[in-house]
Symmetry: D2
Subunit: 457 residues, 4 copies
């Protein structure tokens, strides 16, 4: 019999227009069981390696960037890369070192405030729209911060790996060892999941920043071997799914955030689900058919928003004087690739396209059910772009907000946001799962977000 | 076997921050069947009487008001009473007289633009936030407009009543008579439903306007015989409902709007439903317990909104220098009545109160199921205040937007709004039903909106 | 030897974006000398007649308007006509009746707050942008308010006229009679000047309101006998004025506001002054020459403002589909009259036109000097349109703000406003003078404001 | 007989809320005479040295800053230091190298757009509020840009120095040599004056940026030898100046901007002028006397602005929990120095303080006349802080805007700005003069601006 699903607080760094972040001490109890499960089933000696690899990945992402690139904030919803690098480190320092390290001393007394994104639980907080003003500490100092915290973290982790079941090296105060071990492990897991979320945001935030520069700099050079387009892509097909009661939400022993629980039943009427995402050629058809000029295709609120900003195409598309379309990508400006998925779309654009195409978006229950049960779902549903669903972000039935600071989190963003499912080309490997609920306001465009169509069965 | 449910376009006058309105020629086909059903089952000789009575009711609402009261627009989301009076008349003139009256001539050529609330279907439109600038036409002229249109409408209706199955008096051009009759009847039904929606808005809009006046004028004198409060109100009880697949949406032959269709299945986990709405005494407890100062109780977006507006109590509550609470009502300022339902609450306030009370709001499926099946549901669920649900306003599975102008309507507002169920003290009699879906943004407070609590089963 | 000039506080009702108003008890002392002067030189028996005639003029202005017209506020800078009618009455009630009438009782206890436009001196104040919300009191009640206050005022004035030097009827408390008489007379003068200022605003505010109505209603019918245009208008001529020290500011015994004092010296280099205002034909040339599209003609701030509002012509000009120009006037929409002065222009437009014409605006010293010394200046400089000068509104050298509430006034608006000189077609007769300083922000267009050109001598 | 004054376009980098900048090709003719004058009177062999020293000074200013510090834009009115460094270089490249260098090739083709601040004359322009987004080019690349342009400039200048009257090395195309020489020299002078203006802005912009950082970093370490305060400062004295006609504006052969011309006459009534600026102790008295809470002291517009931003003290003052005042300076946070001039004040604050002190601000004519004629004026009037005058920024009588692109400049900002006179501690040596007219909107606080009082004579 499988252990119960482990609920962790909703990912805050995926929240565009707020300043919250997951995890506080109250999280600890909630994740103990899952951590213990992992302790038993994952070979402990690899924990340090996993931590090293994951932390190094953030540096790999920042590698092509200058200190200036890492410092500037492209817009209030985005954060500077330097801030991401420091904030994820702050998490380990605050929630692990401060609790489990003997003789803990902070790296810098003011970093607690500068790199905190929490509401109240952990003290004062620097205002999010001002993050780009932090030219100090310099990037070099933030890298030193990471280095030092990692060394101290690895002392704890390696001792744990070395001593196996013995928790003496972990628990600063001794005493009831096993719960402390579990607590440490669960917070460590949370910190790593948290950093992965920020890794995706680093990529989308820096893309936004570079796109604002008239020089249109590439984040990295175009690799010679990898083709940009994939002309072999199959024609769009419709999978039909029968009506019935389905189970939705996280199942099994692995990690999940609390908004994925509890697993529960929903009735889904028969529907059809597209076999792939809408591609650039198809989205261009929509544009050329006057899709951005026809109010009957748009939600009223979306139409007003689009008109006010005079939008006529996806965020990173450009059209030159000769009418040729190109797209700003991580490789700089590239000709529009017709078979690649159309991305960086708002909910309003996704909804309008679907209406134009005589279709609609999936609900999140439909999405999860299809992804779970269609053959080859794993390949088709993940790794290209987050997929807007028509479901507003709301608690699952039976969802209960935890007491304390963590209660600040769980329901906090469940209004006027829409759920995206799957994962994108910017999502770290091993960070996607069937029940993952990403969410953004209907106006968000800077994430790698696309369209999977549905229609009634 | 019961005839199919009849879908009409979503009520537009219940849409706070937009300018749309229901019904265009495309509606016609959609409602023919229902109209024919009514033609057969309702005694036709009463149609003229019903029209007269319903139209007169709008004048009864405007009766206590001066021409100045009727002209001013309290805020962009509201409309002047004079505009409501003219717009509902414009509906009959445009969609019935213009189509069915021989030798039709408009009352005034520019009223088509002044009192149109549609997007594109019916030509130019006067901007909603400017409606209060229309000091001309004067109220007297609008009343004359109503009078003339009513006389012409009644000529058509009375002929219909007199001639029974004969449609010669109705169909201007003759020919295929029965469809024309059905069309006329269905548009007439729609026009009357439409006017009833505006009757509720007239009451809430004028209340808002009078509340802004430091003289705090009463809309009408306090009736001596009716007690303001009802101390006999029972204690709040919890009804438990079992989990299962339920059917939701309009059923049966009567009128409904299209957003109430199609009737479909949903799975509802076991839940409990409060026997009555939260009352003023209970809401005051929330205030006095510091509910408006505790961010952990609020949705993040609601907290920011509330802080920016410095809200500390419901819209019409006032607190005097001695700390005594009163409420601005249709009878002027009255002492707060502890047993009356707390009303004029935003979604954010309703949600925060529920969290404080250790409960939550109902989903709309839970609401509809409970109201349909609990004993005495009809008494308890209607006529006091609209009840916020936690359901965002979204299409039912299988909902298909009609082609043409009506397609402008159906899905148009289904984003960033929340569904309210039931009906309020301002809702016209016979305008409420189990499947009715009212909807407003989470910030709306000027409607008669309250709280019914739920909790997990 | 001439008596000293009498300073009264700056006219507040000419202040577009604020809520202040002249006169408080502190004014009293400042105007005593002037009042005594008038007492001696004006035949006292006509005072009641003058008061009656002047007060009646406000009703004449409101005569063509419905209660609805009088209630609505066209924009935050404007006030409803009903408010003007009540506020000018409030002035007499508050500053004269309350001080000089035995057994004074206010007409309505809350009118003090509703119709007060002062900062602090006279208690609470109703926010200016909300004035249009005051559907109560009704226009009829405001007219009754005027009627009652006038009767009571005339009791005092007529007693004064009848008794001559005796002040017993005036001074409620007896005692030092002559100062009280002077005080009464000076406040009476101020109240009447104040009402005249509001009479001009009533005309400009109602014009703005009617212009917003798609019906484009006329304020009054076009008189048959009066030609709209005056083709006999002479060609523009340039008057040359020599350099020298000139005296500027109010001189002589008559009434003036304090911003017109002290009379002082300025050095004016030689300049030329246009003999008449720029007319519609000339301004149309500017438009047709692309004046609104050429940034080199505009102040940078004016260009940005104009672009944001997409302005392409004066406030009340309209251009039909055939390219014909018309103008919304008090007589409704009329064909553009080429020889009439171009009016309803902002400072930015006046400045841009002058630059395009190879000229500039006058400074206020140049204007006053030219108007005083050119033959026929009186005819040419007054009664058509206020004339923008290039002078920012600033204190004259030696201007000293009075102590107390009146000190709230004098310098209060002397920043980011520009002085207009002369008077307009909407200015009451006998309300214009050489030293009068009107002032508005550079964006103001709803006043009757035009252009008189200058160039270097 | 002295040569005529040389008018150059108004300093653009002193313009806070616009994006313009001085000098275009049209400037050339305007400054030829002055340049020739300088050619004759300044020893030519020092020109290269002067250029080197002046350009090096910009690098000295940037020296204490990291690449991140140089990249970020503190607010829309400010520019990043990197942008200043590039823009001043762009000036020399565009207006000198491009015209006078044989075989000119731009350093980078897109820098023309990125670092252009002109309206139209020189092509496309990057929007000012986005300047902080330019993480590319990196600071290092901008420094290389400076280095290369300087080498090329010095080739031209050194050849000129070496060859004396011979212009063959300067004039690319030969021909009429003397005018080309003059043109080169005048543009060189303009470019150096322009860079000096930006040097002051670099200091004020970086101060603003560092002040926003909670770490409150010092721009440079506090020098041990220099005392922060100067307790020996004398008591404030009043200098009395007689009434009379005075001459105002630039006189003599040196460089000036065109807004300082023509020299002209003004009549000044007798007045008194304070011997020094208001100091921190005096300004603190104003604060502690409730100056920020008393509306009677403030211009109405200033009061509203201050209330909206909740301002209670100068921009860089801080008050700790114990009530101790400190000030953020270039040396980090320092205890408030009572005898230092109060700086970083808006016009509104300066005006309110003066009113509270029973005084007023000087007009710019009064200021210039006093500075020119008071003994020791040079010491007292310059080098501490710019001094707000009560004069709005307006053209001098006879000021004529030049034709062409330069005409875009001259009058362009002469509205809703106030003139500051003198110079500040951030002004480069040799960049101040009696007739210099600095100007900013009444809200500007980030410049080193203070208060010199005046009162009537």
């Amino acid at each position: 019999m499988s252990p119960p699903s482990t609920a962790m607080p909703t990912s805050p760094h995926l929240i565009a227009d707020s300043q919250s972040d997951p995890a506080t001490s109250a999280v600890i109890d909630a994740v103990i069981d899952a951590a213990l499960h992992q302790l038993n089933h994952r070979s402990r000696e690899k924990l340090g390696d996993r931590y090293r690899r994951l932390r190094r990945q953030s540096l790999v992402i920042a590698e092509p960037l200058s200190p200036e690139d890492c410092c500037v904030q492209a817009m209030p919803d985005a954060s500077p890369v330097k801030w991401h690098l420091a904030h994820t480190t702050w998490f380990f320092e605050t929630f692990l070192l401060e609790r489990f390290e003997s003789g803990f001393k902070p790296f810098h007394p003011q970093f607690r405030m500068l790199f905190n994104s929490y509401y109240e639980g952990v003290g004062e907080r620097f205002p999010r729209p001002q993050r780009g003003m932090l030219t100090r500490p310099a990037l070099a100092e933030v890298l030193a911060y990471r280095e030092q915290v990692d060394q101290r973290m690895l002392l704890l982790i390696d001792a744990l790996d070395a001593n196996g079941a013995s928790t003496s090296a972990v628990a600063a105060g001794g005493g009831d060892a096993q719960p402390q071990l579990a607590q440490f492990l669960s917070l460590l897991e949370l910190g790593m999941q948290h950093e992965q979320q920020h890794q995706e945001l680093m990529l989308t935030d820096i893309k936004m920043l570079l796109s604002l520069n008239p020089l249109q700099p590439a984040y990295q050079p175009l690799p010679e071997s990898v083709p940009l387009d994939d002309p072999a892509e199959l024609a769009l097909q419709w999978h039909r799914i029968e009506a019935g009661v389905v189970e939705i939400g996280h199942a099994g022993p692995g990690f999940c955030f609390d908004n994925e629980t509890p697993r529960h039943r929903q009735f889904v009427e028969a529907y059809q689900c597209a076999s792939r995402l809408v591609n650039n050629a198809e989205y261009l058809d929509f544009i050329q058919a006057g899709g951005y000029q026809d109010p009957s295709l748009w939600l009223a609120e979306g139409w007003d928003w689009k008109e006010q900003l005079a939008l006529r195409h996806p965020l990173y598309w450009r059209r030159d004087a000769q009418g040729q379309w190109s797209e700003f990508t991580e490789y700089g400006v590239q000709a529009l690739q017709p078979h690649r998925a159309a991305v960086h779309l708002s909910y309003y654009e996704a909804d309008a396209y679907a209406r134009w195409a005589g279709a609609r978006l999936l609900t999140e229950a439909e999405w999860e059910h299809a992804a779970a049960h269609l053959q080859g779902g794993g390949r088709e549903f993940f790794g290209v772009a987050w997929q807007w669903t028509s479901s507003s972000y709301a608690p699952y039935p039976g969802f209960v907000a935890a007491a304390g600071a963590v209660g600040e989190y769980n329901g906090k963003f469940m209004v006027n946001q829409y759920v995206l499912r799957g994962s994108s080309s910017a999502t770290p490997l091993n960070h996607a799962r069937l029940s993952y609920r990403n969410f953004f306001p209907a106006t968000a465009r800077w994430q790698v977000s696309g369209i999977r169509l549905a229609r009634q069965g």
